[in-house]
Amino acid sequence: MSLDALLFQAVNGLASASGLFLVAAGLSIIFGVTRIVNMAHGSFYMLGLYLAVTLAPKIGTWIGGPFGFWAGILAAALVVAALGALIEMTLLRRLYGAPELYQLLATFALLLVINDAALFLWGPEDILGPRAPGLSGSVMLLGRRLPEYDIFLALIGPAVLIGLHLLLARTRFGRLIRAATQDREMVAALGINEALLFTMVFALGAGIAGLGGALQMAREPASLTLDLSVLGDAFVVVVVGGMGSIRGAYLAAVLVAEAKALCTALGVVDIFGFTFNMSRLTLVAEFLVMALVLIVRPHGLFGRPQPPAARGGPAEPPLRPFSAPARLLALAAVALFAAMPLIGTLVSYAPVLALDMLVAALFAASLHFIMGPGGMASFGHAAYFGLGAYGTAYAVTALSLPTPLAFATGIGVAAFGAVLFGWFCVRLEGVYFAMLTLAFAQIVWSVAFQWEEVTGGSNGLFDVWPEWPFDSRTGLYLAAFVVTLAGLLLLRRLVFAPFGMALRAARDSRLRAEASGIPVARVRWLAFALAGAVCGAAGGLFAFAKGSISPEAISVGRSIDGLVMVLIGGVQSLIGPVVGAGAFTLLQDSVMRETDYWRALLGLIILAVVLLFPFGIAGGLSRGLRRPGGAR
């Protein structure tokens, strides 16, 4: 590997960095002002690219091909900005009063809807756009050919950075944005039209993402998988740079892109006699960078501690134990699930679905334990699900342990992982906590994905069937039922125990909790580990129920599913996640059966739930009951 080659790859990295920066910048601006973690941001990027490849040839026929290309890019960015404004006005505006996580849920639903809309409009095949007129060639650098378009891209990142900086520093609009980032109530109190400001900011952010997508026209085909893959990268860049910092985002984008370019450039290397293909690391390079940065600098490179978010709603009501009638109902539900094998003789599919609901309920309840009472929204809970499932599966397939022992192994592995990662995570707050958990989850995922000898690589482990007496559908179901019930009761007991009260105190006021002698960090760490262990049990059950485990089952998607379940059910209620898990599993099962566009339908249903019950099903129903007027 010559120095020239390395230098050249570094130049390559700059072009990729610009693409990353454009998506991340928009995300960062939107978050800064509206506090919305916009899950649909990758969708804007994707739409920008699709619109560009569609519009460029069309415009080209009116004003000539070369101009059409550039006009197409601008038009795409503008259309996406307009769409962003429309979404903000019709949807998000209704949600600013709801807890922040429900805004996240709504934008996640948007992601699902936009993806299916793109499938409907453009069809399933990838669409490769034209090359950039005037920039399709290459120039010689260090004895190699560098595409002109890469140079253009490498320059456009800093150009947008400077443009944004001027906009923020020198214009009235920019001052308002900065003011709103600091304290949006004060801005509103000073008579600024807050609604208009938010709409413009959202349109600006969406437009920049659309521009980023459109500019990729000459480099990559428009495809339906772009939204999620770009979203992950954008989050990483924003968090590494520090939420809300534009120059931080640029620096982070360069850092991530250069790390990847370096891995690619090194290729196969020999380290201490081991041959290792560095290019394989490109799978997680960005998450490794993020984990390292967050451990050293908990608020990212240029981030400052967030100003405390002014809480919209009233303080969370304390949790109450079940009353007598509620206990009766809970018992009835338990009896119903216990009788499922009997129901199965009439409706044979019922136990199959009920088993999935049990696993989902345990998973969601364990996530809720740290999210609700703990106040720590984890974006990477799938990691412990995965560790439990893989631990169990490995114990069954490679070690041939008996079923209960294998299951215990899985829980142990998950608990160990949670103890280890939890130690780093619990010291962070809010979005940074969420992102560090996400980074660890991605690292676990990539290890599962690549450690062929132990985890079976991308195919995963299979033939993980339990032994007698759990090998029949009924046997496994009853075992899962007992485990789930025990897990739920344990979590419930913990919440009402002094430990749970300490945890809730730490959530509501860290300072006061510490002042009254609660070791906040240790309490949170222990809660994290416990949630991980229970989640591992859910993972072990999953492996046995499906007879297999693969990396996909522990990807970001599962973490998001968990969040959706908890949020649909309601964060502020202990029964919420269980109801949410049941509802989500049923929804997914029935919606998947009914339509080809099941993602969009699922998204619309989630949107309906969010709009109708901004505090989840369980939360919404109780509030409706409390105030017959209906308003929250």
Partner: protein
């Protein structure tokens, strides 16, 4: 107040559960013994480009068979489901098909890990399963089981089909670029092993494993060029391939380099490249425009008549899947699973690519693929000089397979 929330929530939950569990009872179809029910599951949402034509191919075959009176007088009924693109959902869908829909057999799947998971399920629950698309060698070899058969040529077979060309090129310095998951890894490993055996002085100078769907094409193309290979083996496909080809072209990274490439001649992957299709690459694929055998001509005209579009490889796979199942059912004389398994061992089928059979030794179909050279015609990539490689000619012998298939039977 707190308890009323619990109460209401528990009530809602219970009501939803009851509703959901009761619902199927009402939607269960009336017990009509007549049709043979084929349960099909696939990643329609995750892989639409490949599976839309596949579904059309299946539906065409079902229609043809039913128009001709079905199998032994019984019509085929196809119950198609999305598998959610992951093994967990796929197993639930398979359970659903078997328990609620009471299907007689399972077919489908595209992604390897889903194919393997469903195969494990089939082995456990003793259900017949014809894996249509997944390529992984494990499905028929290391993890093969009695109840699973596979139609499409496996990764090993596809690589072996390209080997004669790779060998004939007599190049010394090879670079490999592959998507970083099992398919890419095993294709790369098989290629290295087979070529090294055939040409011991070969040297592998660069290996790039890129994240699936997220290739950083510029640096990858550059890293390959920097290694100065005189030949490249490519396993990339889909958007990754399109990005790689464009970057390699702009940078002149593959000038004077001999390239062999897996699957790149399949219309699904070739057509999106349009006029940038890399001329001169030796590829496996499906040149529907150049196959003039009577079996294929009949299929082509029927498909174009039905859908007004040309078939993709997926269409052929879907069509042949159903034809295979019909042939198996006919030979078995019914839907009994054990008899169906026995019937499929050595089953002779005629598909659009001509006659082939399901090997008794490893349950792999001997349907082959076409190998040709990419060229440009009217702004579109095509395969020229295509030749059909029979799957049987690239598979290991029955004796060798026995050692590869420890778990089966």
């Amino acid at each position: 107040m707190g308890y009323s929330s619990c109460l209401r929530a528990a009530l809602t939950g219970a009501a939803m559960t009851v509703a959901a569990l009761a619902l199927p009872a009402f939607t269960l179809p009336a017990p009509a013994a007549e049709p043979i029910r084929i349960g099909e599951l696939n990643s329609y949402k995750a892989q639409p480009a490949f599976l839309d034509p596949y579904r059309k191919g299946m539906q065409l075959a079902v229609k043809e068979i039913n128009d001709a009176g079905g199998v032994d007088g019984r019509p085929l009924e196809l119950i198609s489901r999305d598998d959610g693109g992951n093994p967990g959902d796929a197993i639930r869908v398979a359970e659903d098909l078997v328990t609620r829909e009471k299907v007689d057999l399972l077919a489908g799947t595209f992604l390897s890990h889903i194919g393997l998971a469903v195969s494990g399920f089939a082995g456990k629950r003793k259900v017949f399963f014809l894996a249509a698309e997944p390529l992984t060698d494990k499905l028929t070899w290391s993890d093969g089981n009695r109840y699973t058969f596979r139609l499409r040529p496996s990764t090993y077979m596809q690589v072996a089909m390209l080997l004669p060309a790779a060998k004939a090129a007599q190049r010394k310095r090879w670079a490999i670029v592959y998507p970083n998951y099992e398919y890419g890894q095993s294709a790369a490993a098989t290629f290295k092993k087979l070529l090294k055996d055939a040409q011991p002085d070969v040297e592998f100078v660069e290996e790039q494993a890129t994240p699936l769907g997220k290739i950083d094409a510029g640096p990858v193309a550059q890293a390959i060029a920097d290694a100065k290979p005189d030949a490249v083996f490519n396993v990339l496909f889909g958007p990754d391939l399109a990005k790689f080809v464009r970057e390699a072209d702009t940078r002149g990274a593959l000038e004077g380099t001999y390239v062999v490439s897996l699957l790149s001649g399949e219309p699904e992957y070739l057509d999106p490249l349009k006029d940038e299709a890399p001329a001169g690459w030796v590829v496996t694929g499906y040149p529907w425009y150049a196959i003039t055998t009577p079996e294929h001509m009949a299929f082509l005209s029927a498909y174009q008549k039905a859908y007004g579009d040309y078939p993709r490889l997926g269409s052929v796979v879907g069509y042949t899947t159903i034809k295979s199942i019909a042939a198996g059912l006919k030979k078995a004389g019914g839907t009994d699973t054990e008899k169906l398994v026995d019937a499929f061992r050595g089953l002779e089928v005629v598909g659009p690519f001509g006659p082939f059979s399901y090997r008794a030794s490893d349950h792999q179909a001997t349907m082959g693929a076409y190998v040709g050279i990419l060229a440009l015609k009217d702004g579109q990539g095509i395969m020229v000089q295509p030749s059909y490689v029979d799957g049987a000619s690239v598979l290991p012998s029955d004796a060798e397979v026995k050692a590869l298939r420890p778990a089966a039977d």
